[in-house]
């Protein structure tokens, strides 16, 4: 198939800024989200979650009598009548995405806001009104809700993404002591919550002992396992549909209370039931990102060569929910050093699940680390750009492996050039524009590149239409579009002839969306499925008695414009449309499967995506308010699969990073373990006016060690580092170093006040 492989056909589809193929469905409201089905089935009853009003303890008494008698109420589930499930968190050795997520079992309260009842009624209003009639008395116990910097913490079993909790090299203490210039600082980051536009939501229905869940979920295969595990039924009896998702940011990697509650109630009522977590529920019945306390130690020689890099992280971990964020993951790969010490510790707390949130690890570990690098450059009297360039490693500083590609320095240089870094105010607080103090800041972005397991099926029908099937999801990121492009280019057909079916757990299994591995992983599986399909088509073309190409050699066929051509043994030319060949394969056409998993290249090479972030901002000297003026991100993430969706991902990432740096903070009242700012009026995300001109530059450089497509992860890359660039720019503008994120005006003000 050498010539077929050479992709001279509809080449160049991959990478094109193709508009979203699902765009029209979305803007016309025809893309149905989890609880928006209008398929004519029975009207679902509506469930409303009653939340625990204590952070830790037991239910002493629960009385649902009044609620049950309220108008429209069909069912009130409590721990007293809910069906028995596999105990929460079991089996212990299963991952957190396949463990039981049991609800309403026993009277124990693990965390504030935990579901203590589900009220199901004909309408949302009836369920909500009746929910207030459920009487619950508690025996409250004192709980532990926060990790304080003084805690020693425990060593977690592993880190999210698979890294080791502790990783280092060399005699860190000795090297640090010997360093001519050193730094030892503590940084903190706040509790955060993804709170996607579409909340966690499920509609459940049972038929003949089989459960169908329309659910907003990022990974279907493990979700199906979790539901089956929880309910104690075979996975084959569970089907999850999640064709459209209104954002997840990690919070929908796993199944949460809405899914299990809906399934239980639907079985009880023998009727579809939907449960939508409302905005305030999400803070407790969805996962959040835990706060962190990070100690960063750096040592360098007088020339600015880094000798020692230390990064310790301490975070809370929800009891019976093993999860630790790889806070120092980028630290392990950013700069060369003689001695490295990175350690992660967790403190078990009585909180709702703490889990992955967009760019777990780097989102909170790169702002701090890159701020420390800036402080170090200042101490050394070096341009922070130059300091970073001077310390480019030849090999992965942590693991010692060679890099599959190392593009950070190119990003830094290109970014500095485009941004005009040389025009920066060198001295802090030395430039102003009217009342605003102006500062520049920069940082590196480093994010591990992952390849997971996936399979996919591609089918060409006799009508010439290509159908691609896999249980991948599209969070709004562009999966449908990118996969369309991959199939179109590989099969040499126009994108209009490709239909991509996603979000159905009955389809070939992938690893779903998460960890920025989605496009690369699912895309590679589909790419291979399409190659296999081409091969199969070529075989049929040459072997089938009714084929015009019968007698040709498969390897010598050419594919162009949806047509196959070749020569028979007697030298006569022959050709046929792909559709005609597909029709020969049978009534459904021809189909083939392909799969992918990480191979030796992911063992042998350290794989990362890179970027450089540059920020200009103003600080108001009276109030400490910060206003971004422009941001530039230059990124290297291998081959770009769709210039438009990639840019959107990077831009979205940068905005997410702005949120983490300046605004986002879920306020937990540690007296009760309750988050207090449980709405988007008081949990602040950036609004349009907070986001200045964002320039995104992508340096293309295919990396075939990453995957057969040559792409690397892009989804979370834009977040990395930008918080550090902002912190550094705040210092450059105002002379104030804020080491506690988010950098709110009160913290800047404190520094301004103490200035003489």
């Amino acid at each position: 198939m050498s010539q077929l492989d050479s992709e001279q056909d509809v080449a160049g589809v991959i990478g094109r800024p193709l508009d979203r193929v699902d765009g029209p469905l979305k803007v016309t409201g025809r893309a149905r989200y989890a609880t928006e089905r209008r398929d004519g089935g029975a009207r679902p009853a509506v469930g409303w979650i009653v939340e625990a009003a204590i952070g830790h303890g037991r239910i002493a008494r629960i009385d649902a009598g009044r609620a049950e008698r309220a108008p429209g109420v069909l069912l009130v589930l409590t721990h007293e009548n809910a069906a028995e499930q596999t105990p929460y968190g079991l089996p212990e050795d299963a991952g957190r995405f396949t463990q039981s997520r049991a609800v309403l079992q026993g009277n124990e309260i693990r965390h504030f806001g935990q579901a203590v009842a589900l009220v199901v009624a004909e309408t949302l209003e009836q369920a909500r009104a009746a929910a207030a009639l459920v009487e619950v008395d508690y025996d409250a116990e004192s709980g532990r809700y926060e990790a304080s910097p003084e805690d020693e913490g425990e060593i977690p079993d592993s880190l999210d993404g698979g890294g080791q909790p502790d990783l280092g090299k060399g005699d860190f203490d000795a090297v640090l002591r010997s360093a001519e210039v050193s730094l030892d600082q503590r940084y903190t980051t706040a509790d955060q919550i993804a709170s996607a536009m579409e909340p966690h939501a499920t509609e459940a229905s049972w038929r003949d002992g089989k459960l169908t869940l329309h659910m907003s979920l990022q990974i279907l295969a493990s979700g199906k396992q979790a539901i089956a595990q929880t309910l104690g039924i075979e996975p084959e009896r569970v089907r999850i549909l999640s064709p459209f998702i209104g954002g997840g940011f990690g919070s929908k990697l796993g199944v949460h209370a809405d899914g299990v509650l809906a399934a239980l109630a639907a079985r009880e009522l023998d009727r579809p039931v939907k449960v939508v977590q409302h905005r305030r529920n999400l803070f407790f019945s969805g996962p959040h990102r835990g706060h962190s306390s990070q100690r960063i130690r750096l040592g360098a020689d007088a020339e600015g060569r880094l000798l020692a890099i230390g990064h310790d992280s301490l975070q809370p971990m929800a009891r019976r929910y093993q999860f630790a964020e790889p806070v120092a993951s980028a630290t392990r790969a950013s700069y060369a050093c003689d001695a490295l010490l990175t350690r992660h510790r967790v403190v078990p707390v009585d909180r709702p699940p703490i889990d992955s949130m967009r760019a777990p690890g780097e989102a909170i570990g790169t702002p701090t680390f890159e701020a420390a690098i800036d402080e170090m450059a200042e101490q050394l009297g070096l341009d922070p750009l130059e300091f970073r360039l001077r310390n480019a490693p030849q090999r992965e500083p942590g693991g010692g492996r060679p890099f599959s590609s190392r593009d950070l320095e190119r990003c830094l240089k290109e970014g500095a050039e485009r941004f005009g870094w040389h025009e920066r105010p060198v001295r802090p607080r030395s430039r102003n524009d009217g009342r605003w103090l102006i500062g520049y800041g920069m940082a590196s972005a480093v994010r591990p590149n992952l390849l997971m397991e996936a399979s996919a099926r591609a089918r060409l029908g006799g009508n010439g239409q290509v159908v691609c099937e896999l249980d991948m999801t599209d969070l709004g990121t562009g999966s449908y579009t990118v996969l369309t492009q991959i199939a179109a280019e590989t099969l040499g057909v126009e994108p209009q002839r490709v239909t991509v079916e996603l979000g159905d757990s009955d389809l070939p299994q992938t690893s779903g969306s998460g960890g920025s591995f989605g496009a690369g992983t699912s895309g590679s599986a589909l790419y291979r499925a399409c190659l296999a399909l081409k091969e199969e088509l070529a075989r049929i073309a040459c072997e089938h008695a009714d084929s015009p190409l019968n007698g040709c050699v498969p390897d010598a066929l050419e594919l162009a414009g949806g047509r196959l051509s070749g020569r028979r043994a007697d030298g006569t030319a022959a050709e046929a449309g792909l559709d005609a060949i597909a029709a020969l394969g049978g009534p459904d056409g021809v189909s083939a499967e392909g799969s992918i998993e990480a191979g030796q290249d992911h063992e042998d090479f350290a794989q990362y995506s890179y970027g450089a972030q540059f920020v200009e901002l103003g600080v108001d000297p009276a109030s400490g308010e910060i206003r971004l003026r422009r941001c530039l991100g230059v990124f290297s993430a291998g081959r770009i699969l769709n210039a438009k969706t990639a840019r959107s991902q990077l831009m979205g990432g940068m905005i997410y990073g702005i949120g983490g740096a300046l605004f986002e903070e879920a306020m937990m009242d540690s007296r009760r373990g309750a988050f207090m700012n449980r709405d988007l009026a008081e949990y602040h995300l950036p609004v349009n006016r907070d986001v200045p001109d964002l320039e995104v530059v992508m340096l293309e450089e295919p990396d075939y060690r990453s995957n057969p497509l040559g792409s690397r992860g892009i989804g979370e890359l834009g977040i990395c580092g930008i918080g550090g660039a902002i912190a550094n720019a705040v210092h450059n503008a105002s002379g104030v170093r804020v080491r506690d994120f988010p950098i709110t005006l009160d913290k800047v003000l404190k520094g301004l006040e103490t200035r003489v």
């Binding site: 009104a129 000297p621 009760r672 309750a674 009026a681």
Partner: protein
């Protein structure tokens, strides 16, 4: 949300009568009330919808001011040419509040009477003297970043969140109201809201069923008007501290000043001490700073909002300096 009955009022007199029962409530734009009802922070048993009453006009008064109907939306008011030209402070304050969508629904009367954004007031599992008298104050030793530094009591440290009301106080506006018994009165906006004292659940001097029909603006104060709002993001956030000022300088001295603060108290705060301290004084940074300090002499923080003391001091002084036309400090290169 609990079940409630609803009626649409056709005339102001009838509306006031119908809402006299303390368990009844007016509803106008609904942007505040409906949210609170959904959370069962408020559970009125009867709603009197006043949104169709003919109170949506802005008319000139004989004195040279404007009478603003209680149902004029925040958007309409902010964009009124007369307001923009003559009372720009009010327009700025309105536009700094909420979002365009909310302002399109929000009304002048509803804006004045919107409730606090205290997190504990919103969370029905928390103690809150305002929501449930006698239950305690969750914010006092909890999160109080957005809470009051002036005029608070041990029973409540909440703030009034309105921007518009702060501008109205600076501009000397009065509310025209209609009581259930049919009598009308005028209440200065400055005297409309109460300090929490021992009864934080009582937020205004209005009686149950007393309808705001209009807000009357007197002729504009002398001098330059500014509204400066400091908040946690650049838009769509409530004020941490806001400053409404109308300042006139003659020669080098302050000849006229009206100053009000938002985000610092249970009511829009008229900064009378600062006003008194500055009248006749030279319009310099030093005197502005001293005036701010005078106003804040009795201010206290509660932990999370301690920063509001320096913030208010600095922003009052900076806004006065802006109004007086002094060059920005950053340009003078002096430490602030």
């Amino acid at each position: 949300m609990r079940a409630f009955t609803y009626e649409r009022a056709e005339a102001a007199e009838a509306a006031a009568g119908r809402a006299a029962d303390p368990s009844a409530s007016f509803i106008a734009g609904g942007t505040n009330l409906v949210d609170l009802m959904k959370l069962q922070v408020l559970s009125p048993s009867h709603l009197v919808d006043v949104s169709r009453l003919p109170l949506d006009r802005i008319e000139a008064t004989e004195e040279g001011g404007l009478r603003i109907g209680a149902l004029v939306t925040n958007s309409a008011l902010a964009n009124d040419e007369r307001i923009k030209a003559t009372w720009p402070l009010l327009s700025r304050a309105l536009l700094s509040g909420a979002t365009a969508q909310l302002r399109n629904k929000a009304t002048t009367g509803g804006n004045l009477l919107q409730r606090t954004r205290c997190y504990y007031f919103y969370d029905t599992t928390s103690p809150c003297n305002k929501r449930e008298p006698g239950s305690g104050c969750g914010a006092l030793e909890g999160f109080n970043r957005i809470h009051a530094i002036l005029g608070a009591s041990e029973h409540c440290i909440a703030t009034h969140p309105s921007d518009m009301a702060v501008a109205m106080v600076a501009l000397g506006a009065e509310a025209e109201t209609l009581r259930p018994d049919g009598r009308r009165r005028r209440v200065a906006v400055e005297a409309l809201h109460r300090l929490p004292g021992e009864r934080p659940e009582l937020e205004t001097v209005l009686e149950p069923g007393e309808l705001i029909e209009a807000v009357v603006l007197p002729p504009p104060p002398k001098g330059r008007q500014l509204y400066r709002k400091v908040r946690d993001r650049s838009s769509y956030a409530f004020a941490l501290v806001s400053v409404a000022v109308a300042l006139e300088v003659e020669g080098n001295a302050v000849s006229s000043l009206r100053l009000a603060l938002g985000g610092v108290a249970h009511k829009p705060w008229r900064a009378s001490r600062a006003e008194a301290a500055l009248l006749g004084q030279p319009a310099t940074r030093d005197s502005f700073r001293a005036a701010a300090e005078a106003e804040l002499a009795e201010a206290v923080g509660h932990g999370g909002n301690d920063f509001k003391l320096p913030l208010a001091r600095r922003v009052i002084a900076a806004t006065l300096a802006d109004a007086a036309g002094l060059t920005p400090e950053a340009e003078e290169g002096e430490p602030v």
